[in-house]
């Protein structure tokens, strides 16, 4: 019974390869009242730095984790409990806590990304969860499936979540047969056909949002709902300097200011994040692929495919936007007629990373309502 009243805060697992993380700061002190979703501490991994949000409400009774110390995934770093739980019980919980062993190879392999051949090349994707509802997560320009690392586990609690690398991105084929939004939408439909997914909830970020809308327009029977995160396709304006800069950048110096524009809080851009982007951009074929995509969806610096008119009440649509988006104007949200709109404070172009648990909760609600 006490187990339920005591909520452990453990080192989260952000993405497949994460084995440990460094606690870089506590944002609350022991004794503080905490609401679910409050940012309570900051963590840095070899891929990214980010804030960790409280899994539940209560009082922070113990801050076991020490700043600047590296902890394995699932190690205890704090304890949340109701004030009525006696100190002795908390201490007993802390001293009795055993960090579960790391996933064995088999388990890790079951989770590992897979590849599928579709029209237009080989796609990498990861699949999580076993729910009846299927969800497809589509990243944006220059991204890959890792962009959903803070969201996919939450979504997979109640659905089967598929995150894919679009052609030209991540570890998918770098040749893009048809770099237009319509061509990419056909690739997503082909991906669904290859995996036997008849209907799915589409979640698209940025360019992925425009692709989701195009799938809904051209193959409406395949789409149960849409969640569009800072989507392209709702107006002509776009920060073309960012797009061109991203295509051209080939050093950390070039990237630093550029990637900062993605976030409200620029300190989220870690050295590792830049290294990951550079490693991707150096792969043969990536720069021409990005160039052809950019020329496809934003020729002359304006978005070509405006899909707002295709939205309709038959496919429930949720639009999520960061108020401080510097890539696509948040004002475009008003063009999503009939859609539910959520504007998030303190988020830039990557609200699914900056306000991860809020966005995950919104996506889950949207899926539940439309199921």
């Amino acid at each position: 019974m006490t187990e339920k009243r005591i909520v452990p805060i453990v080192m989260p697992k952000w993405g497949l390869s994460m084995k440990e993380g460094k606690l870089t700061s506590w944002l609350v002190s022991p004794g503080a009242e905490i609401k679910p979703g409050d940012s309570i501490l900051e963590i840095e991994t070899d891929k990214i730095a980010g804030s960790f949000e409280a899994p539940d409400g209560g009082v922070l009774r113990r801050a076991v984790g020490e700043v600047d110390v590296v902890y394995p995934v699932k190690a205890l770093i704090g304890v949340i409990a109701d004030p009525s739980v006696p100190d002795s019980e908390i201490d007993e919980y802390v001293s009795g806590y055993v960090t579960p062993p790391a996933e064995d190879e088999g388990e890790a392999q079951a989770d590992a990304p897979q590849f599928v051949d579709v029209d237009g090349g080989k796609l990498r994707y990861s699949m999580k969860g076993e729910g009846a509802e299927k969800v497809i997560l589509i990243h944006g320009f220059g991204g890959d499936l890792v962009t959903w690392m803070f969201n996919i586990d939450g979504i997979a609690e109640s659905a089967t979540a598929y995150a894919l690398d679009l052609p030209g991105h991540g570890q998918s084929s770098k040749k893009i047969a048809d770099p237009s939004v319509a061509g990419l939408a056909r690739t997503v439909v082909s991906f669904m056909e290859s995996l036997g997914i008849e209907k799915a909830h589409l979640v698209g970020h940025s360019l992925g949002g425009a692709i989701a809308m195009e799938v809904a327009r051209s193959a409406p029977a395949r789409v149960k709902s849409m969640t569009l995160v800072a989507p392209a396709g709702l107006g002509p304006e776009i920060n073309i300097d960012y797009i061109n800069g991203f295509v051209a950048a080939n050093s950390r110096r070039d990237l630093k200011d550029l990637l900062g524009k993605l976030f409200a809080d620029q300190s989220l851009v870690s050295r590792q994040m830049m290294d990951e982007v550079l490693k991707y951009k150096r792969l043969d074929g990536v720069v021409p692929a990005l160039r052809s995509l950019a020329d496809g969806f934003a020729p002359g610096g304006k978005q070509k495919d405006i899909l707002s008119a295709s939205l309709n009440a038959r496919i429930p649509t949720l639009v999520i936007w960061g108020k401080e988006d510097q890539i696509l104007p948040v004002a475009h949200a008003a063009n999503a007629k009939g859609a539910q709109v959520e504007i998030l404070e303190g988020a830039g172009h990557m609200p699914h990373m900056e306000k991860a648990s809020k966005v995950t909760a919104l996506i889950k609600d949207q899926i539940a309502r439309a199921s």
Partner: protein, 335 residues
Amino acid sequence: MARKLSMRQAINEALDQEMARDPTVFIMGEDIAGGQGGQGELDAWGGPLGVTKGLYHKHPGRVLDTPLSESAFVGAAIGAAACGMRPVAELMFLDFMGVCFDQIFNQAAKFKYMFGGKAETPVVVRAMVGAGFRAAAQHSQMLTPIFTHIPGLKVVCPSNAYDAKGLLIQSIRDNDPVIFCEHKNLYGVETEVPEESYAIPFAEANVVRDGDDATIVTYGLMVHRAMDAADALAKKGIECDVIDLRTLSPIDWDTVLDSVERTGRLVCVDEANPRCSIASDVSAKVAQDAFKSLKAGIGMVTAPHTPVPFSPALEDIYIPSAAQISEAVQRTMGK
């Protein structure tokens, strides 16, 4: 998640993928196919340390064993490059370069300049460098500065498998002669390496650790010693930028100067002998261009001005250590 390769495997993969991509790429050197003319499996060795293992059968006619004459086959590679091929010559030990200096210094390095930019020499000469292999004075030198000195040559020295693959692919695609230096004590070290081909641009240093107190500039095996030193210093509250130059010619001065302007302290670490070394070169550049940013004299940690000793005990002392680097950084901080 991602696949790990040793530096030996990463170099092999780079050669394999470039030969598959471009029919003008071929490789030549002593014993790279594995002792042709001998008994048994032709592919048994693949070079003295097994770097080219497996390539002989995969790329028939394009993995050429050569006679024991460095001056002949390095010259032949340079000639083939001038005629439109992209040869990769393996010279075993960079120490043997002495017998082909004319081919490299006076021919390959000069063609583009002397023929008014009309001639290109896209040759790569791969060779092992560095001490710590108990291989004595004639097989252990870090001769990177000698080649860096010559205009017209590019000089590369990776510190890990990821960089080795991307830099070797860039070297093969580059239209100038490249001296590609492989530290023999790094061949077994594994890092994550993408399966796809990728090229790392030259003159793009890698900042392998961030810190505001001091800058350590180095390359090759010494990157690992510098990281050990930086870890030890961090425990004492001293945070270092560690810069892996990756390519010595061309060199990324911007990254070095930006860092020193922020930290105000510089320690240059080089496994080469100290006179006219990469360490002294970087020191001179910073003293010239960022003098006002310096809060202390520049530190240098190098091998001593002696040949590499054969005695294991002496050889271990000869190679710069993490402790020496850590002391040098602390000296710049007045400690």
